[in-house]
Symmetry: C2
Amino acid sequence: MIIDCHGHYTTAPKGLQVWRDAQIAGKNPGALEITDDEIRQSLEGAQLKFQRERGTDVTIFSPRASAMAHHVGDAATSLHWSQQCNDLIHRVCSLYPDNFVAVCQLPQSPGVPPDNCIGELERCVNGRGFIGCNLNPDPSGGHWTAPPLTDRYWYPLYEKMVELDVPAMVHVSSSCNANFHATGAHYLNADTTAFMQFLTADLFKDFPALRFIIPHGGGAVPYHWGRYRGLAQDMKRPPLDELIRNNVFFDTCVYHQAGIDLLLKIVPADNILFGSEMVGAVRGIDPETGQYFDDTKRYVDAASGLSPADKQKIFEGNARRVFSRLRR
Amino acid sequence: MIIDCHGHYTTAPKGLQVWRDAQIAGKNPGALEITDDEIRQSLEGAQLKFQRERGTDVTIFSPRASAMAHHVGDAATSLHWSQQCNDLIHRVCSLYPDNFVAVCQLPQSPGVPPDNCIGELERCVNGRGFIGCNLNPDPSGGHWTAPPLTDRYWYPLYEKMVELDVPAMVHVSSSCNANFHATGAHYLNADTTAFMQFLTADLFKDFPALRFIIPHGGGAVPYHWGRYRGLAQDMKRPPLDELIRNNVFFDTCVYHQAGIDLLLKIVPADNILFGSEMVGAVRGIDPETGQYFDDTKRYVDAASGLSPADKQKIFEGNARRVFSRLRR
């Protein structure tokens, strides 16, 4: 089985944006008006078609990351919006239980301690079958006003994650800072930033069972693995392999062969989860290969020197380990 | 000849910090008290020793990047500090004219348009032999409050750079945002951010002769080259090779063989300048190789498939083209 750990509902029917626009305009958005047929239509020509064409089986599926926009409105805005988005994901997964498994958006809000996310996380995981959450290290959308992920500020949420046995993908949303293009800078910067935070603190001594996926192939990290090994050594921190072993994982959302080759060569196979971010940041076909840039399965399949056992871990085993509720 | 395009005076005699501490404390720091012998001592056991041991010839040398700290004090603070740092670099290059060529720090200050840097840039370049500058895209030190590098806000400085025929290395300083470790996150994020800014705007149509070096191997960019090619294509921007050709260059400050191999494979040889950031971010010896992490010449020498012509470009030719005043 091939599990894609990183998919967002980027093709949601327009009723979702209508609801959000009304909410932002301060009008009563009422009930979300999206039919099951509209949901089917939004997926059949996109995610489901690509699953079939590319030979992947299941996508771990969450609301559109760029639309989380935690910086819009206040904590109540964020809660109501998260509930709509998560309920829609639940409908997707109920319609296609063999193709999608749900991960939730959290109702984060700048300046509001993440304790406020516990209720929505419980609502999604208990009874609705969600198996993880997306955690935004920068709810301000590019101003980076929250404490680092290793700060005790986040601990109540981590306690709940451990109790529920769910991991988080570290995933920022859109940027309202003109310096940061969302998918071309903000996303990758957040990945790099989170990794260095994890490297410099003892978070996983406090939470040995806490698990994070750093998406987009870990931002800049594998390319600069020597830098990080050297920094860890200079700072008397544990070796990287040991530091990340049971707690930090990278996906394979790297859109060219040379990048995937580096990732697979450098990062232990136990810490890599197959992901494509399909349909997502890059939608075109690579003229150099004639294939979609985000068809990352091709790169993993073409990587030389990957043992069948490691390939199985990357395509399936690690996802089952990290998203442990997937087994249930 | 082997030219290292990226060295900072990280080993400056303690008199420099004494001066800075007095300045920050609001006391009159007086004249900088550093003797020529102290300068010699600070270099003989460090940069000069490593040049000899590693077989490099000349280092393009600038003040310590993390100490620029443009966020400290106001524009006058920044100007006086920059003058001291640049004068000290000038003394280094006068004592060792065969080993070091000078690049200056700019007196940037948060919220102050970079027009205020023109005077110091002219002072350094005209008559003192400086051949480039370090430009901080985030003088706030991790709050990212300045406009993107492609904004007209920066144009007066760019006009002067073109007139003087000097490039800039895009280099942030220390971070006063707890989210960003300086050398492990802030530096690499700035590199990634700057590249995406250049990708999305027509800056080089306005300034065809403007040249930027993006250090630290281009941050996350080469590892995510497919993502950037795809984003450029989706956004109807020019192909990356064309977009960067005469204007954007990466150094080789990537501290392991696999990273350098990726860089050399992916980025055109015309756009890579040898650099080591020695003595800099990572000071230890890699237990996997028994060599210094930042001995990047070894990785370039060991890279397979690099033609002698391309190697000459990376070690010397490109530096002479980008730092065109080096020839004089």
